[in-house]
Subunit: 430 residues, 2 copies
């Protein structure tokens, strides 16, 4: 069974948007143990679309087509498919009724352009889209089933998960059993992790893959076949030992989500004072529903005057040690923790660049503090040679990893080979 993908749309071909649908789709299929053979990306041009549909239908068994089902004049997928199959476009009465009903229930008149979306190739089978106005459809041509999906990511993912996966699993049902396990790591480089892990010998049928997704490197362990699956647990244990402090989650895709869950479970509260991370830390936690249970406040005190007025950082500390210093982040963390007597406080202050660096404190120097009621832990890390965004992203991950380790009763300070610490500091405050 050969699976291919065709991505349509000038905006994808021309790089106006990065094709995250394609990456997500291939990854989703791989998690099901199905490998994609090839992907073709074409623009919204009738002859190109027709040619690609016709040509690939002679080679693949299943083709996932993404995009071009919208209401505008550059959405040509249904029409191109009809031409390629040599059948007319006909209005799908079921979808027309569905759309009219949708607009009526919202008290809105259906725009003329949406009627176009009801026209499908005559021999196509409608595929429901409960979250958007573009219907999916599938159609047989030559040896292939072509399965058409909308480009809007939320609609695409819904249709793949709910409709395409059962369809393709049926088509691929004679495949081998597979199992996938993921480790989320932080603070170690991809090559260093791969060098260490390649020295373990993976049992036959087990492969290890690496996916750098800043600030993390995800490690995927994939077992194909019953023998490989049976030997997987032992190998995972070996990997856990090898990864050591690099391993930050086996449940979630980010250290932020891991911390969110640990705070929810523990019932502890958190306050934050952010300077260079500037709201990113708060935003990463607030992304998860239920964060109001533990998050008191996060004060983005960007100006020095704000650090004094809002957090009570003494002007003398700022003057003597500078905004990016162990003393300042401790004062920020203490100040924000005391406002509502939170259990924990995090504070960041650093030079995100590209301007503002000095010889003593070059761009990428970031001071990060964690305080509870008794102690404060600080590390000053050196994140130079990264972009402004990446300096902020890495700073957030260090801060959250310190809190994660504390919540798991480990020492908050740990060494990250990929992120050199310029200084670390701990003090007993009570």
């Amino acid at each position: 069974m050969l699976l291919e993908m065709i991505c349509t749309g000038e905006e994808v071909l021309s790089g106006q948007i990065v094709d995250t649908n394609a990456a997500w789709f291939a990854d989703t299929m791989l998690n099901l143990g199905i490998e994609l053979q090839q992907r073709i990306t074409v623009g919204d041009r009738m002859p190109d679309l027709m040619r690609v549909f016709l040509e690939r239908s002679q080679h693949a068994d299943v083709i996932l087509v993404n995009g071009g089902l919208g209401p505008t004049s550059d959405d040509l997928s249904a029409e191109a498919m009809a031409h390629a199959a040599g059948v007319p476009l006909v209005e799908n009465q079921q979808w027309r009724a569905h759309l009219l009903d949708w607009f009526t229930r919202r008290g809105r008149v259906m725009p003329a352009s949406n009627f176009k979306q009801c026209f499908l190739p005559a021999t196509a089978i409608l595929v429901d889209n409960p979250v958007g106005s573009a219907p999916g459809f599938r159609i047989k041509l030559n040896r292939a089933w072509l399965f058409f999906t909308p480009g809007v990511p939320v609609e695409f993912k819904h249709m793949v998960t709910e409709q395409f996966v059962p369809f393709v699993q049926d088509a691929f049902k004679n495949g081998q059993a597979t199992r996938l396990h993921k480790f989320l790591t932080f603070g170690h480089g991809e090559s260093a992790l791969a060098d260490q892990i390649s020295q373990l010998s993976a049992p036959a049928g087990i492969t290890v893959g690496y996916r750098p997704s800043a600030p993390h490197v995800e490690i995927k362990v994939f077992a194909r076949g019953a023998t490989a699956i049976a030997s997987m647990e032992n190998f995972l244990d070996l990997l856990r030992i090898t990864l050591g402090t690099a391993l930050v989650s086996e449940r979630y895709a980010s250290v932020a989500e891991e911390v969110h869950q640990l705070l929810l479970t523990s019932g502890h509260t958190l306050a934050m004072a952010e300077s260079c991370t500037g709201g990113m830390l708060a935003s990463q936690l607030i992304e998860y529903s239920g964060s109001s249970a533990y998050l008191h406040q996060s004060l983005v005190t960007y100006a020095n005057a704000a650090k004094t007025a809002v957090l009570g950082v003494s002007p003398a500390i700022l003057e003597n040690h500078g905004a990016v210093s162990i003393e300042t982040v401790i004062a920020m963390a203490k100040g924000v923790r005391e406002l509502l007597d939170s259990d924990y406080a995090l504070a960041t202050s650093g030079i995100a660049g590209p301007d503002g660096g000095s010889v003593d404190k070059p761009v990428g120097t970031v001071a990060i503090a964690l305080c509870d009621r008794e102690q404060c832990w600080v590390q000053v890390v050196s994140l130079g040679q990264r972009s402004r965004t990446m300096i902020r992203v890495m700073s957030c991950a260090v801060a959250l990893d310190m809190l994660r380790r504390k919540l798991l009763l480990s020492s908050p300070l740990v060494s990250y080979p990929f992120i050199p610490a310029v200084a670390t500091y701990m003090e007993q405050t009570h």
Copy 2:
């Protein structure tokens, strides 16, 4: 002249990494007025690589091939190309000498795996890579020039900019002149915009494309040929009138960047109090270097107690009107503005969901205030039926658009057809 791209590598095909090289390349070409016809992504499998090189060499004039030039056993591009062209691989003495010299100058011994990188198809022409160990090369097969580049992004971009662009500009020198102009819109649906614009008749040779990229819809106007370019300005003026208040930028890719620039230019200062947007507003502005010039602080007062302790919102207001109310966001904005006497303040408070909604204030209800020294403007919008992330993203865009309009001396309150306002309110405070 037909330009295509072939991307190689399991990690790209399988979605282990998003193919940012491909997006960057197509965008770079489009900015030169050269349209990519098609992109094929294949894994590191010898028969697939050979088939694709042979097949596409019969259709395209220039093919940019990316990846597969590294030192490891799954880097097969040069070998596959040699097979496809029916020529042997031969060691390129120039590159061998270059690599040996590179390692010698660094006092290192060249690893055996790097010698493999010196072997190129016999008829290939070496393309220099001053930033890495993989040489590029180009080779003629059938009607096409195939141009091979390394997958490492920094090496790839360097080679494209320094070597491929001059090569392809020469190859395409008889092509048509093109011009691209982009409008960034907010608050209007893609279909509604397309319906309006389709009623204008675009001059011959001018096409209009739409790219939804939440919270914005970008409109791209593309002119091909001298006649179309000559009639472009008039058509752009017509579009500006048609777009009206939907148009938020012609310079930048987000309303945040537009506001950042307006604040930098005007010298005004800003303070923010964020509840449901939770640091996202601050983070979007701090993304741009120089934001410290105007941003005093952004206080993410997530808990009600924080709104009182940090911003001085009276408990009576919170009790009588609720956290999501006109009264509360005005008190938040006034409170945060007065801390450092900022010129402007923004405040948000809403129900981001999926929990926390009520009959009176369903999920998606968000109150947004803008205050200056004399006045406050508030709108309460209804963003229901969107995800938690999207409710926060749209709230940020409404807040920033209010400030953008104020900085341009327009009324901050405007109606967004895509975002129904439940209430709007204005008060004179001094």
